[in-house]
């Protein structure tokens, strides 16, 4: 299977199953176009010549045709799927290797698009106790088998509203590392309101990653990210975030924003973050049910596509000028990205990654918290619903009809089961708007790689 597209004056052909990526000229592009089939190349030279004659010389057509044939021989174009048969015998035996600890189901902001119901996740506002946190650490130690690296995310609500407990849990986990041969890596997500010097120092000493929530320009940020009294938070948090990012040498953090249909020109927000000096950025489409007024709709797609492309072009310009920045979804390492096993198995929610609520209840991931059908157990009783876990484990890009056919499957890994459930009530049925966006982002990322190829060598 191949996928070809043109963007920013570059033609790209991706060979889906081998992972090969080629930049092709217009003749080669037209030959692939004339073939009309993404799965195999059946046209013989005479047929191609007939179609392209007049626009290119015979010599040119023959040459390009020969090159395509050569790549097919070398297993770099129209490669057949070698993985689907391998998957049948694949016994994954997953272990839990990552926890999202909902350290505070409470928040000092009232962001209008919050999927956690402004911190409460449809339940009571509550803080996790150190006891629950420690039980969760025991749980992951017990369930992680031989896996050495364990990721713990402190999430909310706003985690800094319960910072003493964060510290206690970190200390507890560290105290168990040697005995159980584990290496804990911590991440904390924060809206920044409570950040101060002391907390900053603690985070820099103890957290591998930190996610700083900021949507972009003041106008955009303050429309959604507001205090209880309705006042925006931009002025308060931006200096703290800049300081935080600098103190981490502009690495191992993300400033992360959300865009909605109210700011489909989110590219300017990404650039605003870059202009503020942030080198690690991410802006994500909002997760929202239909009918909220700010959810992404079908009619918004052309504008969003244009915006991604525009951002990608500027991204390349800035990299070339030596003032580049990273945008989460445009980052792509063609030479040594993750292995194919990871690429086809998805996010791990429900079987490698679970979320724990302040009460100690376990859910497949942070976005399932509060969905009664998805409660998997709790950290106290040791109950862990194998049925739910197996269901999540059983899904991969080959079990989802849409993904099986999709050229982007090894970049996307099968979409977000939580979105799929929210929108389609089926974790195996990806949310199609999300898919459209994902495919566009992958195209942008590939174009960027092509544009920077000579520079990176």
């Amino acid at each position: 299977m191949i996928h070809k597209f043109s963007m920013n004056g570059v033609n790209i052909a991706l060979d889906v199953y081998s992972g090969a990526v080629h930049v092709i000229d217009d003749i080669a592009y037209e030959i692939l176009e004339a073939n009309h089939d993404v799965h195999s190349f059946r046209k013989d030279k005479e047929e191609i010549i007939e179609i392209l004659e007049g626009r290119y010389t015979l010599r040119q057509i023959e040459d390009a045709y020969g090159e395509i044939r050569q790549l097919i021989e070398e297993g770099l174009l129209f490669t057949e799927d070698p993985y689907s048969s391998y998957l049948k015998t694949w016994d994954k035996q997953s272990v839990i290797k990552a926890l999202c600890l909902h350290i505070a189901h409470d928040c000092n902001l009232r962001c209008k698009y919050c999927f956690g119901a402004t911190g409460s996740y449809k339940g009571d506002r509550a803080l996790m106790s150190a006891e629950v946190g420690k039980k969760a650490i025991d749980f992951v130690i017990e369930r992680s088998g031989k896996r050495r690296n364990i990721e713990i995310d402190f999430f909310g609500g706003e985690p800094l509203m319960n910072f003493d407990v964060v510290k206690e849990i970190v200390a507890y986990a560290r105290s168990k590392e040697e005995q159980h041969r584990k290496n804990f890596r911590f991440t904390l997500t924060t809206n920044g309101i409570l950040l101060n010097q002391e907390i900053k120092e603690y985070i820099n000493d103890n957290m591998d990653n930190i996610v700083l929530s900021l949507d972009g320009t003041k106008e955009v940020n303050d429309r959604m990210r507001v205090r209880v009294n309705g006042r925006g938070c931009y002025d308060e948090i931006v200096p703290k975030f800049i300081d935080m990012a600098e103190s981490r040498n502009q690495d191992n953090y993300y400033v992360r924003g959300t865009f909605t249909r109210d700011n489909l020109d989110f590219g300017k927000d990404a650039l605003h973050l870059a202009d503020l000096g942030f080198k690690q950025t991410s802006i994500e489409p909002v997760v929202a049910p239909d009918g909220t007024s700010y959810e992404i709709r079908e009619e918004d797609l052309p504008a969003i596509f244009r915006e991604y492309e525009k951002l990608a072009v500027e991204y390349v310009n800035r990299k070339k000028q030596g003032r580049g920045f990273n945008f989460f979804h445009f980052m792509l390492d063609l030479s040594q990205g993750p292995c194919v096993v990871k690429r086809l198995s998805g996010c791990g929610s429900g079987h490698e990654y679970v979320a724990v609520t302040p009460e100690g209840d376990i859910y497949p991931c942070h976005q399932f918290v509060g969905e009664p059908d998805f409660k998997m157990g709790d950290v106290f009783s040791g109950v862990f619903d194998a049925e739910i876990s197996d269901k999540f484990q059983a899904t991969n890009v080959y079990t989802k009809e849409d993904c099986k056919k999709c050229w982007a499957k090894f970049y996307c890994s099968g979409g977000c089961p939580a979105n799929a459930y929210q929108l389609n009530r089926d974790i195996d049925k990806p949310y199609w708007i999300g898919c459209e966006l994902e495919r566009k982002r992958v195209e942008c990322a590939l174009m960027i790689q092509a544009a920077l190829y000579d520079e990176n060598r």
């Binding site: 000229d25 993985y83 993750p338 996010c347 090894f410 979409g415």
Partner: protein, 45 residues
């Protein structure tokens, strides 16, 4: 080749043989928390 420049070869196919150790980060965690992208993840090996 005159018409085609290959940026990367059969990297994916090669990784099938060596991959699957599972020591890497789960994908949703790193930055977005709302979507699943793997291509930008780091391999731990």
């Amino acid at each position: 080749m005159k018409h085609i420049k290959t940026l990367s070869g059969a990297t994916l196919k090669k990784s099938a043989a060596t991959g699957g150790c599972g020591e890497c980060q789960t994908s949703c965690q790193s930055a977005c928390k709302t979507s699943c992208t793997v291509a930008n993840q780091k391999c731990e090996k």
